[in-house]
Amino acid sequence: MIRKILFGCIWSAILFIGMFLFLWLKVPQYLLYHEQYQLFQFTSGYFTHAISLPGGLADYISEFVVQFYYIPLYGSLLASLVLTLSQIFLGLACRRCATPDVAYILAALPSVLFIGALGDENTLLSFAVAMMLTSVFTFGFTFINTGSTTADSVLLIAGFILLYWLAGPFAILFISAWGILRHRSVIFLLLVSLLFVWTIHRLFFEQYPLGSFTLGMNYYRIPETYPTIYFIIWGVMAAVPLVTLIKKNVKPIISYAIAAGVTVFVVIYVPASFNADKSRMLAYESLVRQGRWQEIIERAKKERPTDTFSLQALNLALGMTGQLTESMFQFDQNGVEGLIGDYKLDNTSQLITAEALFRLGLTNIAFSTTFDLQEAIMNDRKSGRFMKRLAECMIINGNYEVAAKYIGFLRNTLFYKDWVRQAETLLGNDNAVDAHPIYGPLRRNSFTKDGFYYHSQLDKILAMLVLDGSGNNKLAWDYFCATTMLKGDLATLAGVCNYYADTFGLPTLPRHVQEAIAMYWTFSHPSFDGLQFPISPEVKQATAALAKAAMTNKNNPRAWQNAAPGSYGVYFLRYSNSQQQKSGSPEYQSTHE
């Protein structure tokens, strides 16, 4: 008996530690991703709203736990605890019915399958909490034995109704598990349970589809969507109690072998459930959110990302550390979308773009982009992260009434309330906003003239943002230069540099801009004589070498790279080549005219 208990404890501990370490160390970006799509509040209204729908308590507990994802260490601990409790109670329920260790071991399967399911970023912890509550009920009801089938059935139905309300349709598994564990036929009870679900739907919840009442309203972020893995977990959870039907005692060695088998399965299955590209992108996004710019750059040096989402993060990190126009072409750039993305109707694609728009001082557009990101959350939740950003935009714009509204939502949270205390001192206080290290410059750099935002005219908008302001919005200036360079629009770059020089004095040209201007100059001039801007001898030399390489090796990018490694010119030649292939004619904007 002691061996059994000890084995059980060790198994659950291994499970807990394994899940905790995996979540904390391997996929913390997923936790941060989840946290930003909800706004848990410690208010009675939030609680009553949650439990007004079936499965509401599971949602409430889930959202309570997910708020701790803000700090992945805490979040991993709590999420692992939920999943381990689910295993323990299901295992104990089976063990109470004179079952060998095998069921206790296999009771871990639904939990580890769920860890794998987290590789889908829309999988919600509500599913796991509902699973845990079902396990608890299953365990609790193993104590029920009135000796009367009718009384047991009545209690079971009452338990189902309660559990259904707390955890949602998972409750159906509670009835089936009870039937298996107690060797009773529960088909009639299952039918009564389903009838109950349909009845309350018909009577009180006409505004919701029946499907969500029978398969879960908020187990998955996208309504009325149920991934295959959910059905597998339901199947496994329903099947685990079947092990109790094994009459013979299983030798410990077999239990250990099964435990080893489960462990091997987990080690293979769980990491494989997380798509490497998605994990990388979410990692960049989480670093952007935390402003860990240097880490992004270091990571990019190793990973060499080429997707626009990761590049947006990298370029913003380069911009925030003043390196954008010095070193962006040392990475594999792939166009303007890698700076600022065009509008997309989902809750993720614009995450980094929204951050960049905010940092650039395009406050209105950052606001609208963030507003839509929040509105695009498929399960109609609000977001602590987005609410904070909306409030920041409104503070910068001086609309303190709306800012106060958003701040009000963050007041009753755990991880945003410190910011709320600071923000509240800014409301209605223009001087304090002006003096704020972030909001002050953003307010001063805001647009004053009316005009519309067009993604296709980002370069012009950025140029206006710099030139209509004091000329010292360095990030906007760098993004302008980067945009024109990425578009290969060197004429605009040179023209605006000239205008800038006339208005604010000769700018110090960063390396890539020197390369671009040198390249532009070489299109129409035999030498660099007469060039207004100071170009370093190294850049002149590299540009000349590249021009020569391009002439002699027209279709050999490797030769260009060797001639001027990590320079803008290599990108430009590649870009021009690709444009040429697309259109059949060159798109060089190569003359002053």
Partner: protein, 490 residues
């Protein structure tokens, strides 16, 4: 003996608690209380829900309010919010129709000190508001996407709000405004957008789901208005796009790539069109006159958009309609000419008694809820004279107005609270032709409600009775895309 001691202590505690609820006798100050919503000097219908309010002092611990009717009766309340008992409230307002309710407000601060403020009044109108309530779409004032939206109905005599149609019922699809025939609960239309989108048309017990795009028309029906006899619905066919402003003073500029007028014959599912209202110019937001013989609408010359957005100005026009023949007239009359006033007209809404026509004026454009300068204007239809409804207007957008079928009362959406979220206000045109001070739709706990509301009250209207919709039928039609095609009447 010891039980008596406990009873005595309990009695003392209760006494102390009770006496803490009422302020001591003291003279009022000359200052009016700061309350939210500002219900001072408003005119209310006797049927309205209790006009609960909050005091806005940050150190307020408790508020005590004593209400006295000018004719008879009175009531009092005390608590964090001035919350009135619904039954007693209606008794009081009912006994003071045409009279005045005087509110004496006392506030206890955190130090336990009471402050009594100068009394304020509410006027109980002798114009009854006979409608069941109001209907509106709750939607975040967003940009290109939405989360939870729905069309809801609110009983005006209580705080009960029930959904008519929520997006959860139709797989997250967007839905547009609810248009009813003079507030009738059994005669309205709702547009549903997205895959399997169409126009849900309910009249009587029938529900029809229409594809309102005919091969000959440019698009689906958008802004609608019912003919008084219930057979026809005038719609504009709009393709709306939006541009987003860069500066903080502006937000969104919606505009129509094209817009024409059509009239739907609900008996035959045919569209009545005319080349005179399907031109390269922009015809939009139609509204039948109360006698059904005219259609008011807005008309603008097309300009190069989006660059010419500030030159896009709509005139108020009308065209005859022959309900017997189902025919549009051959001539357009201009009632308010945009070029004369250098402003843009939108959303004409005639009062059902035919006395007035309310509309919006903005500097330019067609979407007054996105223009802070949008004001309500009223035209006396007997003289054709217009004036701004200054009694009701604010410095922010005031738009989406509609009349009560019973006459006199009107509602509108105003962003006066914060410039962003549109809330619902009610007012009435008094016997002197002037609007009374508008009041914010009452809520049980108004400050909490409006502070926490992340939606606007979009396109509100009165409804005579509670709407009942067969959700199973609606869901099935939308899910399956059971659309009935319309055709153009030759």
């Amino acid at each position: 003996m010891k039980y008596y001691k406990y009873l005595l202590i309990f009695a003392c505690v209760m006494l102390a608690a009770c006496s803490g609820g009422r302020p001591p006798e003291m003279a009022p100050s000359s200052e009016l209380p700061d309350i939210f919503p500002d219900y001072t000097d408003v005119t209310i219908p006797a049927q309205i829900a209790p006009m609960n309010f909050d005091v806005t002092y940050s150190d307020a611990e408790q508020v005590y309010v004593k209400v006295k009717g000018s004719k008879e009766g009175g009531m009092e309340t005390s608590g964090k919010t001035a919350e009135f008992d619904e039954k007693k409230w209606h008794e009081l307002t009912g006994r003071n129709v045409g009279g005045i309710l005087t509110f004496e407000v006392s506030v206890k601060d955190k130090d336990g000190k009471w402050h009594r403020y100068a009394p304020f009044v509410m006027h109980v109108s002798d114009k009854p508001l006979e409608d069941y309530g109001v209907v509106y779409r709750k939607i975040a004032p967003g940009y290109q996407t939405f989360s939870k939206i729905g069309i809801y109905q609110r009983d005006l005599s209580s705080f009960e709000e029930t959904p008519v149609l929520e997006e959860t019922a139709i797989e997250g699809k967007c839905m547009n405004c609810h248009y009813a025939n003079r507030g009738r609960a059994d005669q309205f239309s709702i547009h549903i957008r997205g895959k399997n989108g169409g126009t849900l048309l309910k009249w009587g017990d029938k529900i029809e789901y229409l594809n309102t795009k005919a091969p000959e028309t440019q698009g689906n029906a958008t802004y609608g208005y019912w003919h008084p006899d219930g057979r026809y619905v005038a719609y504009s066919v709009n393709k709306i796009v939006q541009n987003f402003y860069l500066d903080k003073e502006h937000n969104i500029e919606p505009w129509d790539v094209f817009s024409d007028l059509i009239v739907l014959d609900t008996e035959t599912d045919q569209l009545i069109t005319s080349p005179i209202v399907a031109t390269p110019r922009c015809e939009t937001t139609p509204a039948f006159s109360p006698d059904g013989k005219k259609i008011y609408f807005c008309l603008a010359d097309s300009v190069d958009m989006p660059g010419g957005y500030n030159r896009l100005k709509y005139s108020l026009c009308c065209i005859d309609f022959d309900a017997k023949e189902g025919k549009l007239g051959s001539k357009i009359d201009t009632l308010v000419c945009a070029s004369d006033i250098d402003r843009s007209v939108s959303l004409p809404r005639p009062s059902y008694d035919g006395r007035y026509l309310m509309y919006n004026l903005t500097e330019h454009g067609t979407s007054p809820i996105h223009h802070a300068d949008a004001d309500l204007w009223i035209m006396d239809l007997s003289t054709g004279e217009s004036r701004p409804l200054d009694e009701a207007n604010s410095e922010w957008s005031d738009a989406y107005h509609n009349w009560s079928p019973g006459g006199g009362w009107f509602l509108f959406n105003s962003k006066r609270r914060d410039g962003m979220y549109g809330n619902l206000y009610l007012s009435c045109i008094g016997n002197d032709g002037k609007a009374t001070k508008p009041f914010l739709l009452p809520q049980r706990n108004p400050r909490k409600y409006y502070d926490e509301a992340l939606h606007s009250f979009n396109a509100p209207d009165f409804i005579a009775e509670k709407i009942s919709l067969d959700m199973h039928r609606v869901r099935s039609m939308v899910r399956k895309g059971e659309l009935t095609n319309v055709s153009v009447r030759k």
